[in-house]
Amino acid sequence: MRNTWAVCRREFASYFQTPIGYVVVGVLALVTGLAFTISFTYYAKMSQAPSEYAMTGVPDFEETLLSPFLVFCGTLFMFLTPLITMRLLAEERNRGTMELLLTYPLRDREIIFGKYLAALGMLLVIMLLIGVDLLVLHRFVEVEPAVLWFGLLTVFLMGAAFISLGLFVSAMTRNQITAGTITFGVCLLLFILGTLGEDLPSGNPAPEGLAEGVRTVFGFVYGLFRGVVLELPMDAHAKNMALGIVEPVDIAYYVLVSVFFLFLTFRALESRKWRG
């Protein structure tokens, strides 16, 4: 535990000894701040004259502003986590400090969790910034606490899942840029998958002329594929959660994604023992 903390501490400090920490925090503060201001102004206009926006009454605050804003923040992590995670292990390998790290009396889990926690620390810093936006909000509106807390939890879990993915990619590569690009690519793919999923018909698309057996098999495979495409995207599980609707499935999804990629990271680091 003490070792994990030591690794985490060094890693976290080095975010702010290099420009990367300031860049990530700065960009995020700017973008979320701007997005928040714009949607807040828009919401203000909407609530003053609902009829102009084809609305019958004052729009629901949580639904129209808070939860979309939080989901947006989560999505933004998709762009920023590669920057947080790309150097975690790739840079150690590139600089050769891996040789030190792996010859200190550290267990693999202490190295991996130390780095994971450091990246989560960055995530917390970022969330504090979002918290500032929400504090401002608190002055004007009574926010439903469930929506706020589950919204923040969603953002955090989403970020943690992205970080876990990025850590794994970083464990597989030697070059930061490669690690960052691959992480970003995979995140983006998971995101686009969501859009694709919306267009997939729900029935069995197999042509009528085929034999019944083939049709059934085809339908089954298609059903699996559609299920994956619908469930896999990172933001698919965020929308309900951010509205304060607690579904164990949604929380399980993010936790499982994190655990899965952490598991792969362990295997990747271990591979030095048999790869030669």
Partner: protein
């Protein structure tokens, strides 16, 4: 303290180390010699637990490197060849980090860091950013991190490369001082350094152990002995005379009027002199020539290792 048995390491199809066995006793300073790519670094990396061996075993203080890596790593301080460091960190916070990772109790963190920093002559440099240090000071920081926790075994891969002469002398003195309490393995290209520091030498060539003995035994001359002769005569005549003498194995010219005769018997000096004089040549000087470590090294590494060439043992150590 250190036991290596039938150690073998393959990088893909290339054998970097083949079937090396040796032992190092407590408090010994061992010199690891060999041309580039001989497998020195690879052997050291296996000992530190960084690279797994393909075959054979290595253990430190009775702990197997493969099965008890943490115990081994607690006992080993390692200075890698290229001295990788976190460039963005301040020397002192880097050393504090290493001390934490090596499990130094919180209370003695600072004193331990100060101890190694003083031992390595880091002085005010401990407030500098590592990336801005000169090569010599980087080397010292590398050495300092290896010393943290006072490990029983120090494995130093070319510790004096890139230092200026004064720094080299300082670092050598430091290593020598450490030698009284630590078991040390040093790899180096600089042969005089080995002569100065080490009690025992291990020479590796093309992944195989080609010589292992104490410094005294290695330079004593082994089975044959050589004489340096100064003869006032044309080269061909002198060589013919030398080669005609009894017990002379080889003879060659080393300079104008200077020759070396390698003899099977080290007591054959007077007889050799008599023979040269009897041929009517003027012998100006005859002197037994002790072998330098350089001779031993050249001899050991110029022997072709059977089966080593086709798989390209060269450079394998860097892979």
């Amino acid at each position: 303290m250190i036991q290596v048995e039938h150690l073998t390491k393959y990088y893909g199809p290339i054998a970097a180390v083949r079937d090396i066995s040796f032992q190092v006793g407590k408090g010994e300073i061992i010199g690891f010699l060999g041309p580039n790519g001989a497998g020195k670094s690879t052997t050291m990396r296996v000992l530190t637990g960084f690279t797994p061996a393909s075959g054979g075993t290595a253990s430190i203080d009775g702990f197997n490197v493969e099965t008890a890596p943490i115990e081994v790593k607690r006992r080993v301080g390692y200075l890698p060849e290229r001295v990788p460091l976190y460039d963005e960190m301040v020397v002192r916070s880097f050393l504090l980090y290493v001390a934490r990772v090596k499990g130094i109790p919180r209370r003695s963190l600072r004193s331990e860091v100060d101890r190694v920093a003083d031992a390595c002559g880091l002085g005010d440099m401990r407030r500098r950013i590592i990336g801005n240090l000169s090569k010599g000071f980087r080397q010292r920081v590398g050495l300092a991190q290896a010393l943290i926790g006072n490990p029983a075994v120090l494995i130093l891969d070319e510790p004096t490369v890139g230092l200026d002469p004064r720094q080299i002398i300082e670092i050598r003195q430091l290593i020598k001082d450490l030698g009284s309490e630590h078991t040390i393995i040093i790899s180096t290209h600089i042969l005089p350094e080995v002569t100065m520091l080490c009690e025992r030498v291990i020479i590796i060539n093309q992944g195989r152990l080609v010589a292992e003995d104490s410094m005294a035994n290695l330079t004593r001359g082994g089975a044959s002995s050589a004489f340096l002769l100064e003869i006032d005569a044309p080269e061909s005549e002198a060589l013919a005379a030398l080669r005609g003498a009894r017990d002379v194995r080889r003879a060659w010219r080393t300079g104008p009027g200077e020759f070396i005769a390698e003899m099977a018997d080290s007591d054959a000096g007077p007889e050799l002199a008599r023979h040269v004089v009897s041929k009517g040549l003027r012998l100006r000087r005859l002197q037994p020539r002790s072998r330098s470590l350089e001779d031993v090294f050249m001899e050991a590494v110029s022997v072709e290792v059977p089966g080593a060439v086709e798989s390209g043992g060269e450079d394998a150590g860097d892979a």
